[in-house]
């Protein structure tokens, strides 16, 4: 499944989507960056409450397919700028990480 399809199916808000054609392989949810660094893998959807620019750095390093900021939390201007610049897909959902993770799992993203 592509990032584009996930956006449509879950009605995610697109903050930046420079690479909507990226393939989604799995998912990871977490807000402690050292944990995410070790556990998130290439092609994952990363669900987090963190909306600052260090998230973009971690997304880039782990190679996740997209970052999804949950619970409609605020995303910092610098994070958006950096995501655009570095080509990181930055999405947002009003659902909680728990709810969103459940939906993604149901869609077959495991």
């Amino acid at each position: 499944m592509k990032v584009r399809e996930v956006i449509e199916k879950l009605e995610l808000e697109v903050i930046t989507a420079t690479h909507p054609g990226k393939e989604v392989r799995g998912g990871y949810s977490g807000d402690l960056l050292s944990n995410v660094m070790a556990k998130a893998g290439k092609g994952d959807l990363w669900l987090t409450i963190q909306g600052h620019q260090n998230v973009v750095a971690v997304a880039l390093l782990t190679g996740v397919a997209a970052v999804i900021i949950v619970e409609n939390l605020e995303v910092e201007k610098e994070a958006i700028q950096k995501a655009e610049e570095k080509g990181v897909n930055l999405l947002r959902s009003k659902l909680s990480a728990y709810q969103l993770g459940g939906r993604l799992y149901q869609m077959g993203i495991r």
Binding site: L32, L33, H52
Partner: protein, 141 residues
């Protein structure tokens, strides 16, 4: 023989803006060199944690990297304050990070654990009041 660095980058204290730049740059370099992706992933994790620790916990320092027959070598050197209790620092969950830094998702006390887990060789030299020097090697498979 003097090391020839493929990366040499000054890291400033508190410079969260640039957090991850050294590791991203190294990752790109290694990708261009055709290094195995598992090796790149390990290198990225180790370099990122070293880099963030300099930004968060030190007075500033340097990240350097070199490739040799042994593998990818990453050097972190900072201007202090040093790590008073190394054994404690390597314990999962131990962190002296401020609340402000924790709010951004740092301070889980897992950075050094990651560095240890994802490097094949690790050497730490630290002196209170002087600084910390860490050398990590990731073997090429």
């Amino acid at each position: 023989m003097k090391e020839k660095y493929i990366l040499e980058k000054r890291i400033e204290k508190g410079d969260f803006n640039k957090g991850g730049e050294a590791s991203s740059k190294l990752k790109d370099l290694l990708r261009k060199l055709g290094v195995d992706s598992a090796v790149i992933r390990k290198t990225a994790i180790v370099t990122y944690e070293l880099e963030m620790n300099i930004i968060i916990h030190s007075e500033g320092g340097w990240i350097r990297a070199a490739i040799s027959r042994e593998g990818i070598q990453i050097f972190a050197a900072d201007d202090g304050p040093g790590i008073a209790d190394l054994e404690k620092a390597f314990q999962p969950g131990y962190s002296t990070a401020s609340d402000q830094v924790r709010e951004m998702g740092f301070g889980a006390g897992l950075g050094l654990v990651n560095i240890k887990n994802y490097s094949d060789e690790l050497k730490v030299d630290t002196k209170t009041g002087v600084g910390t020097k860490i050398r990590a090697i990731i073997h090429l498979v």
